[in-house]
């Protein structure tokens, strides 16, 4: 299993796209490329499970290490554990679905798919890198594609949204950069290698400065309150595939970074600031949920609900128990699939009705049964119906949170639980108004989903249902990795 393939595949696809002559060729190249990624992700999953079943207990599997800028102790160090594999799977699902729903893009098709595939390369690279510098490189590599995707192919206040997104994410990266350099120079050894760093004990004073920098820096990506403001604007202005990538993959980079870099390397810092994280993420959960209630635009509804759902990820990390952390990773995967599907459905509806306003729709179930059914499924997943992935992930987080016996954690957990009620209100209202009721005359002749849209929806629903019905495989994949993080945390006895 050579992990560089995960970077090379998208790169080659992107280059191949540039060489294609017309839009049809471009689309098929992108589809074949993303299908190859999809297959590769599954191959990786099975290889990983086989290796684990074969008794390979190494923390990271399929490690690779090439020297890159040895003067700065930077190495191109790749490797995967259960968390990474889960995130790679998620990415490949979203990428193939994103390519499929973008089948009708006519404006600058070649550039569109080129940037889309480039974005996926950044995400894969991020999830497999075991060197802080490489991680940062891949984190930032996605800035250009995101900016251009929103600015060129977006709608509404696209320039404003693109600018806001690029600058806020760049601000997050700047904090990550400073925190990273703090670890590099403040630690006992000058290295960017995550595995080496995790063995070192970074001085507590350094952790106290660098942990918030890194956590907030990554937190900006995953809509940490109060740095979530780019989410609604960015998501709602982006083209459908752009929103799917942003919410499905890009926001997960932040959660992964918070977990893998900030919490894992700096357990003292994590304990020190855990309560603040819990407070902020609870605010994000509740604020996001209530803000969604006020939205009339389907994309804004999903964008604000993403703020709320991503709050659960940070809440799970902040709770500092193994179950909650596993739940956080599951929530990342679940929310990634769900929100990508939600944006895909919104895109399909918008393409037909040319409106995203809930009030202007109604009775769509009669003309497009497939699309509305998918909307039902994704809505139910969002509000946490058992049998779908959202329930599993949120339930795991709540269970993990409840393991903390003190009133502070209990109150936070209860407050976060309450948001589910609010979610149910806005989801059911939005779906009800869209799908039920009298059908407007101008919508009489709308057609249902085409093959590409059906395929995209089925792939994503497949992921959601697979987690919902059989959560143990994801749990088994992730929990050994979170256990290692917990061991590192348990070795620390400050605060608490």
């Amino acid at each position: 299993m050579n992990l560089t393939l995960l970077i090379l595949l998208p790169l080659l696809t992107a280059v191949a796209i540039l060489l294609m002559r017309n839009a049809t060729q471009v689309k098929w190249t992108a589809l074949i490329g993303s299908a190859a990624q999809f297959v590769f992700a599954f191959v990786l999953l099975f290889a990983f499970r086989n290796a684990r079943a074969g008794g390979n207990e190494a923390q990271m599997l399929f490690e690779l290490k090439y020297d890159w800028f040895p003067a700065w102790h930077i190495a191109f160090h790749l490797g995967v554990d259960g968390i990474s594999v889960a995130m790679i799977l998620l990415t490949s699902f979203v990428v193939i679905a994103g390519v499929l729903v973008s089948w009708n893009v006519t404006k600058m098709t070649k550039e569109f798919f080129f940037l889309l595939i480039l974005l996926s390369m950044g995400a894969y690279g991020f999830f497999i890198s075991l060197d802080l510098f490489i991680l940062f490189f891949f984190l930032e590599i996605a800035v250009i594609p995101k900016y251009l995707l929103i600015g060129v192919w977006g709608s509404g206040k696209k320039e404003y949204a693109a600018n806001k997104l690029a600058l806020m994410l760049m601000g997050g990266s700047a904090l990550v950069l400073v925190g990273m350099l703090g670890i590099y120079f403040g630690g006992t050894e000058r290295t960017f290698d995550l595995m080496t760093l995790s063995q070192l004990h970074i001085p507590v004073a350094v952790q106290k400065i660098c942990f918030p920098l890194l956590f907030v820096g990554f937190g900006v990506f995953t809509a940490l309150f109060p740095f979530h403001t780019w989410v609604p604007d960015g998501h709602s202005s982006a083209p459908t595939a752009g929103s799917m990538f942003l919410a499905g993959i890009s926001m997960k980079l932040g959660g992964y970074g918070c977990l893998r870099v900030a919490t894992y390397i700096m357990p003292d810092g994590a304990k020190e600031y855990a309560n603040i994280i819990i407070v902020l993420s609870t605010i994000a959960i509740l604020y996001g949920a209530f803000a969604t209630m006020m939205q009339k635009d389907l994309k804004y509804i999903n964008a604000y609900s993403s703020v709320s759902h991503c709050g659960f990820v940070l809440l799970g990390i902040g709770m500092l128990t193994k179950t909650a952390m596993t739940g956080a990773v599951m929530q990342m995967v679940s929310h990634g699939l769900m929100t990508a599907l939600f944006f895909a459905v919104i895109g399909m509806i918008y393409e037909r009705t040319h409106t995203r306003q809930v009030n202007e729709m109604g009775g769509l179930l009669k003309v497009m049964p497939f699309i509305t059914t998918v909307l039902f499924i994704v809505g139910l997943c969002s509000l946490g119906l058992p049998g779908l992935s959202g329930f599993v992930a949120e339930m795991t987080i709540f269970m993990g949170s409840w393991q903390n016996p003190d009133p502070f954690h209990r109150i936070a957990t209860i407050a976060a639980c309450m948001s589910i009620v609010v979610t149910a209100v806005y989801i059911l209202r939005a779906i009800g108004k869209t799908a039920m009721g009298p059908l407007k005359a101008e919508f009489n002749n709308l057609d249902d989903a085409k093959w590409n849209e059906k395929l995209a929806a089925i792939i994503l629903i497949g992921g959601i249902v697979a987690i919902g019905i059989a959560p143990f495989w994801l749990n088994d994949l992730v929990s050994p990795a979170t256990e290692i993080i917990m061991k590192k945390l348990a070795a620390v006895h400050v605060g608490m």
Partner: protein
């Protein structure tokens, strides 16, 4: 002795040889500009390639002239930049009546810079600095019919004269205190007395003028705007690069004993330069003025790396200048091609450029992303290494300010990108004809922007030169 002379001064001799050759061609033949330009381009390319051969270390003239592998590499970078300028602005050069004079002036300035990099004493340094400045003032006035160019030239010569005066004052003070003008002898004689600090401040001020470090930057924008684009790019890339190199040697070698003192000064100037450069760049409408202020901000970043006084510091500065050559020349090349053919220099005029000119739009985008420090472009690595070197002293507040300045700079670079890629325009700039050599120049710049970062051996090579 003659052998030493030939080998140690080989870079300078080649440049001098080319200057004389051009002089004879000017007097003797009636070749057309087209063919002449090709000849000059070949000569400059040969000069660049030749700079990697017969590398030697040693002194000449009792220490007045000194060279080593690092200095030779720095000269190679400048040679590369000059070659790229001859490619990128070939359209403008061909139409110029005085093309050969332009090259003679430019190469004279380059000769001065080479001597400056290799100078072993303050006297030699001063002579070389003058040689590198005065021809540039003449070049700035190359668009003879334009009033604004004369103004630029005048401002340039006045500010240069002023800074030379200050430099001489500083040199005389140093000679007065230490009794030596030899770079190798000065460090042992420094003890950080107030008079020495004053002398150092005067010396540094002269550098600050040339590098347009805030508050000595006021001439920059006007000169950049008035001068022809080719000259502006020469000023902002070659001229600044050479001064950055010599500043590196001066600070790290000659004034190494006073590190405690200049460290704070450099940090302060770096912060001010980044902030002022960035804030002024935000509001510029003219692309040349815009690039002028952005290059001021870039110098602020060079100072971040310079402040570290370590091997990492000098390697990251040299590396950054190399990247800066590619990125800034690409941006100026595109701006020059557009202004040459359409006369348009406003950023708003670039709206919808991508619809008509996808190739130069992508080159411009690459260049601007590299200047902004976004991966996978080389600028990312350059900026990151400068910042990492700057962080080695543990001054995190300073590093945070630098990192925040990256965001501000991203904002205004994105403004241009937005004009090019996103904004609609009823009448976008017509299709720009690029002659083959300009296209080649842009492709080299683009390849440099992508590859210099990703291929880590470039940086390793620079590090081995310094060790």
């Amino acid at each position: 002795m003659l052998n030493d002379f030939l080998i140690l001064m080989k870079s300078e001799l080649v440049i001098a040889f080319i200057i004389f050759l051009l002089l004879f061609i000017k007097v003797g033949t009636e070749m057309t500009n087209d063919r002449l330009l090709s000849l000059v381009q070949i000569l400059l390319l040969a000069n660049f390639i030749y700079s990697f051969f017969f590398i030697a270390e040693g002194d000449l003239f009792g220490g007045l002239f000194t060279t080593n592998t690092l200095m030779t590499f720095q000269k190679s970078i400048l040679s590369l930049a000059v070659y790229l300028i001859s490619l990128l602005f070939s359209d403008w050069l061909k139409k110029s009546e005085h093309m050969l004079e332009f090259f003679m002036l430019m190469l004279s300035a380059v000769l001065g810079m080479f001597f400056m990099i290799s100078s072993g004493s303050l006297l030699m340094f001063f002579l070389a600095l003058e040689l590198s400045t005065i021809p540039v003032a003449a070049m700035a006035n190359f668009d003879l019919e334009k009033k604004i160019a004369s103004e630029a030239s005048m401002k340039m010569i006045l500010s240069s004269a002023f800074s030379s005066g200050i430099l001489l004052f500083g040199i005389s003070m140093i000679y007065g205190i230490t009794g030596s003008i030899n770079f190798a002898e000065i460090p042992a004689l420094l003890d950080g007395s107030p008079l020495q600090i004053l002398a150092f401040v005067f010396l540094f001020t002269a550098f600050a003028f040339k590098l347009s470090i805030v508050p000595f930057h006021l001439w920059t924008a006007d000169v950049y705007e008035g001068a022809p684009v080719a000259v502006t790019s020469f000023l902002s890339v070659v001229s600044k690069g050479s001064i950055a190199f010599i500043l590196l040697t001066t600070l790290y070698k000659t004034f190494a004993p006073m590190h405690e003192i200049w460290y704070n000064m450099v940090i302060l100037l770096s912060i001010v330069t980044m902030i002022v450069g960035n804030l002024f760049a935000l509001r510029q409408q003219n692309i040349k003025r815009f690039l002028a202020f952005s290059s001021i901000a870039q110098v602020g970043f060079i100072l971040v790396g310079l402040s570290s006084n370590s091997i990492e510091g000098s390697s990251s500065v040299v590396y950054f200048v190399l990247i800066y050559v590619f990125s800034n020349l690409a941006a100026f090349g595109v701006a020059g091609a557009i202004s040459q053919q359409t006369g348009k220099e406003r950023i708003d005029d670039f709206k919808g450029l991508y619809q008509t000119n996808p190739f130069i739009s992508w080159i411009l985008a690459l260049a601007l992303f590299s200047l902004a420090g976004i991966p996978p472009t080389a600028g990312f690595f350059g900026k990151l290494f400068l910042i990492t070197a700057g962080a080695s002293k543990g001054n995190y507040l300073f590093i945070t300010i630098a990192a925040l300045n990256l965001i501000v700079s991203l904002y205004y670079y994105l403004r241009v990108i937005r004009s090019v890629f996103m904004d609609k325009n009823e009448q976008p700039i017509e299709i720009i004809y690029l002659n083959p050599s300009a296209k080649l120049g842009m492709i080299i710049c683009g390849a440099g922007i992508v590859l210099v970062g990703l291929l880590s051996w470039v940086y390793d090579y620079i590090t081995t030169l310094i060790m």
